[in-house]
Amino acid sequence: MTGGIDFLRPELLALLPLAALPLFARSTDARHYPHLGWLPADPAGRLIGLLLRLFAALAIAAVAIALAAPGRAQTVEPRTGRGAELLLLIDRSRSMDERMLPSDWRELSPYDIRHQTLSRGPVKSRAARELLADFVARRPDDRFAVSFFSASTLYVVPFTQHDEVVQAGIAAGGVHRGLSETDVGRALISSVARFEKRAYSGSRIILLVSDGGARLDEDTRLAIRAGFERQRVALYWIYLKGFGRPDLEAAGEASEAIPEVALHRFFQTLPTPYHAYQAQSPEDLAAAVADVGRQQNHPLDFEELIPRRDYSRHFVALALALVAVLVLARRWQLGGAT
């Protein structure tokens, strides 16, 4: 917390005595005059002269300090927040660029739904991003991390409480179109690994936003299960169910062949809490996000790394302003030396 001021190049502080130069310098641009005792006293002029000399000294001092690059040292600050550590794991695959059911899909005739969905349904990834952004904004106490995944995981934002970074990370998911592959297994393994070597300071959640499943092989399943158990991470799956996509709760042994259902069933066997939300339309998605928000609200202790803050540009700006004043005063000054 008490980050003292430190200097990157303290040896340059040796230049500081140069600041005394203007106070002692015999100005070369002064006019000569035979006898100053003759002239009327001018306190205003004397003050201006003193200030100008002081400004010159300060400008040199500010430059010397700026060269030494002062700053508040990097500190680690313990903080207590309410809420959870949330890792947003968002599908970046091309299927996320498809559209969801429009809001009024219940009033549409079954024949129109497909056509209407393709024409005016909201894009999945975009709706998800907007809702998540809203979700992040409404939960200032949580710490968020953002990852996208397709063939492999793209780490976007590490765990942080800074909303704007998280928002920017979420917004970054909207750049260009989706990628081709979807590998939920790898994404989950690497995401769980991101909780490793972090103090357990509150509930941990992975919020998986995806529209498709995958069949996982036995090794992957083992790794995921072990990871979730060790890191005690809860999993929420917001399943963006596209038009005509399978229902997670489909019963029957035969449904095991459907990747989404298989994934769902595997998740249910995890030792840590798991909940799946099926979202067909933006309203379902909003309800799911709100539900997640209600679920986790516990106190959270964590240490925040506050980066070094560099103050040198303040000093450069100060020096620049002072020099500007001096230049103006020089223009205002009458004539040169005689």
Partner: protein, 283 residues
């Protein structure tokens, strides 16, 4: 038109020197200023016998006319060459002084008076010294030296030393200086010159008595003390500047007036006619 540098001076009172010259003297001798008659025995100069007065004399003595002769007056110029005299543009104050000195040399030549020159700053400046002499051209030589003289000294402590050779002597003394920062030492120096007629030549460059044109910050450096001083030149300060100059002029005149001396203010260019007028008015 080239300004006229030539001038003529007057001593103002009777010179007591025996050596004949151009000024009214107090010594008796070959002159036209009749004083009295005395007996031929007291002054055996038959050329001066006044027949008319002798006939009127009740005692029947031969009477001789007594007259005062015209005498010379030693002239001395004592020049301050401290750093403050190194000021002024385009011509320095010392250039003005040089103009004056060479004109003084011609004036002395015309009057037949011996001229001595000396200069002082912190000490008496021997390189700018000229013993009393009637030789023409020496003043011009000294004027040329003054024009190129370096004056780094920051004071005028040599004033008394420079005036010491003139102490108690009857002479016409030109004290050439700007009289900046002269304190009690001026009075004690003038005390030395009790019998001399002192004409202070106050050399002020126009650049120092009038503030520069324009408005803004004026940064000045004292030539003698080296101190820096900033002035915010504005109409009000301009007035105060001129008022300060007028006050200094008045104060300087008052100091000299207390000793019955009238200073002559020399400005750029040196006006010889004004100096002649100054002498004519002063007697």
């Amino acid at each position: 038109m080239k300004p006229n540098h030539e001038f003529h001076y007057r001593f103002g009172k009777r010179a007591s020197a025996w050596r004949p010259g151009a000024h009214p003297g107090s010594a008796l001798g070959a002159g036209e200023h009749f004083v009295a008659h005395t007996s031929l025995f007291a002054r055996p100069d038959p050329r001066r016998i006044d027949l008319r007065a002798s006939l009127r004399d009740p005692r029947g003595d031969w009477l001789v006319r007594l007259a005062r002769q015209r005498s010379h007056v030693p002239v001395a110029a004592v020049v301050d060459v401290s750093a403050s005299m190194d000021f002024g543009a385009p011509s320095r104050k010392l250039d003005l002084v040089a103009d004056f000195v060479s004109a003084l040399g011609r004036a002395c030549l015309a009057a037949g008076d011996p001229l001595s020159l000396s200069a002082f700053d912190m000490t008496c400046r021997d390189d700018l010294h000229l013993p009393p002499s009637r030789q023409p051209g020496l003043a011009d030589l000294l004027a040329a030296r003054l024009r190129t003289a370096a004056c780094p000294a920051r004071g005028h402590d040599g004033l008394s030393a420079a005036l010491a050779p003139l102490a108690g002597r009857q002479a016409l003394v030109f004290l050439v200086s700007d009289f900046h920062g002269y304190g009690r030492e001026l009075e004690s120096a003038l005390d030395l010159l009790g019998r001399a007629r002192v004409t202070p030549i106050v050399v002020w460059s126009p650049a120092e008595i009038t503030p520069p044109n324009g408005e803004g910050l004026l940064r000045l450096r004292d030539l003698e003390s080296g101190r820096l001083r900033e002035l915010w030149l504005r109409p009000r300060l301009r007035q105060r500047w001129q008022a300060a100059v007028a006050a200094h002029r008045e104060a300087l005149q008052a100091r000299f007036r207390a000793r019955g001396i009238r200073p002559f203010f020399l400005s750029d260019p040196f006006d010889g006619d004004a100096l002649t007028r100054h002498f004519l008015e002063g007697t």
